[in-house]
Symmetry: C2
Subunit: 334 residues, 2 copies
Amino acid sequence: MVSTNRYYLADRPDGVPDDDTFDLRTVELGDPGPGEVLVKIRYLSVDPYMRGRMDAGESYAEPWEVDEPLQGGGVGEVVNETGTEFEAGDTVVGNMSWSEYHLADADGLQRIETGALPVSTALGVLGMPGRTAYFGTREVLEPRAGDTVVVSAAAGAVGSVVGQLAKLQGARVVGFAGSDEKCEVVEEEFGFDACINYKTTDDYVEALAEAAPEGVDGYFDNVGGPITDAVFAHLNVDARVAVCGQIALYNAEETPTGPRKLGKLIETRARVQGLLVGDFAPRFEQATADLAEWVAAGDIEYRESVVEGIENAPDAFLGLFEGENIGKQVVKVE
Amino acid sequence: MVSTNRYYLADRPDGVPDDDTFDLRTVELGDPGPGEVLVKIRYLSVDPYMRGRMDAGESYAEPWEVDEPLQGGGVGEVVNETGTEFEAGDTVVGNMSWSEYHLADADGLQRIETGALPVSTALGVLGMPGRTAYFGTREVLEPRAGDTVVVSAAAGAVGSVVGQLAKLQGARVVGFAGSDEKCEVVEEEFGFDACINYKTTDDYVEALAEAAPEGVDGYFDNVGGPITDAVFAHLNVDARVAVCGQIALYNAEETPTGPRKLGKLIETRARVQGLLVGDFAPRFEQATADLAEWVAAGDIEYRESVVEGIENAPDAFLGLFEGENIGKQVVKVE
């Protein structure tokens, strides 16, 4: 039996979480059952995505219930002899409650191998944030030599690694961060080519025009909101946007700015890709032949709306916005 | 010499174009020069994308200048013997001004081959809209048997074809259209499984829950705005969203609803794809090994912010939203 302080979700927040959200309770943990490991926690991770778990609605992580302990990544030491693969004194990482001690399923723990690095790196550069940067950069951002890559929350656990990985690929890397001190670290320590302090900059679009004069080929978005608005304005053709976080919006009750709903893309890993038919010009002929065949076979039906007279062309055009047409709207001139 | 009426851009519209936008003038066309063809126009196409050309800002089509003739796809007959590959009487399609006669570069014209179909189909199902549907469906939407596909502007030139192509692949297809009449056509003629009349429906999210109970695997977006909002709420994992048009927004001075800036994706064909690190779980080990190596080699710098004490975990968490951390924020419990 061990006693621990542990945080519970006291109430779901409206907007920014506050005192009413969190409830610290002292609880007694029972003895570990079969397959369970008692962990004395050393480090807990707090992450933006947790805000989503406080809401009732579905997110990419399951919502917490009110009166449920808050949870997240943690590092600690195994206390007891367990009859599992873990021994007392092992340092482990896994999902822990926000508490001093945690009874964990052995299945969910990994022994930490951080070598000469402090064990807390298992929650950072070697852990979830580092891996997020690693895969996000390789699989979505795909920076190439000569690219310009923008990273929001550039001083953060994920962004700082993303920018460096992009640099290793030969990209020019521009960060957004929230203080001059951060920007100095971003530039001097993380090696970004430029950093925009978004708290002292009025016009992000203009600032980016200077910092990324050749446009943006890759954007690693951790924040959403007006920064993302500004980056979108500079996207180059075939740009890759990795939507990794939307922290600017997690507390928002409404979303006043920025491309909205991108959080949904995290949830679904949907890709959103613009379509411009001209890209496929070399294959127009085949398309027309196929379509003609399908129409002839009755597989494709079509409609046209015809407006008569050149003088009515503006009406025909405006009618599109009123939804007056069915199928293709044309103007019959003669 | 031939005289023709022709529409000019009189002024750039604010919001919805009106009478002040269009100016009909009577002009004399000179004789065709070398490589030019005089075309007596039969059909002109008007398309939503043209709204973009009326604005000064860059779009995926070049902006029109004020006092420039309005232009678009047209079908007509060659009037003169030209010394080009075209002969008088040929029916051609190409870019025409909004006029009765047009002097066209022969290079930009194609002889029409619509077979038994009316020549106007060269502007519709066999033309740009049909091809847009064809490539958009094949290359972006990629409908699969058993998928649910949603199409906005389902009664339109593009949407009607998209829905049918998706049906041919075995998808369940749900359309949005703006009248009961349209919905009847969409269901009965184009064979969609369901159609939502967005003008008589209050709650699109609820309507979709009924029409697409298994969620949305593919969304072909022609409109943007609140319909797109609602579809986003139903996206399934690995959904494909083809952003083809944003007609609901083209006249908007501000964009009050819907995912915004998606028009930019059309311009750039950027893909926006959510990222969830858990997708890459089988490769975590390699990632950690690589990261450790890079950190050891000094290729990757990292920072951590440490808050001490379990009691400060909420502050550490809230601090994320205030940007108080540099690098990975952790709570040091002991």
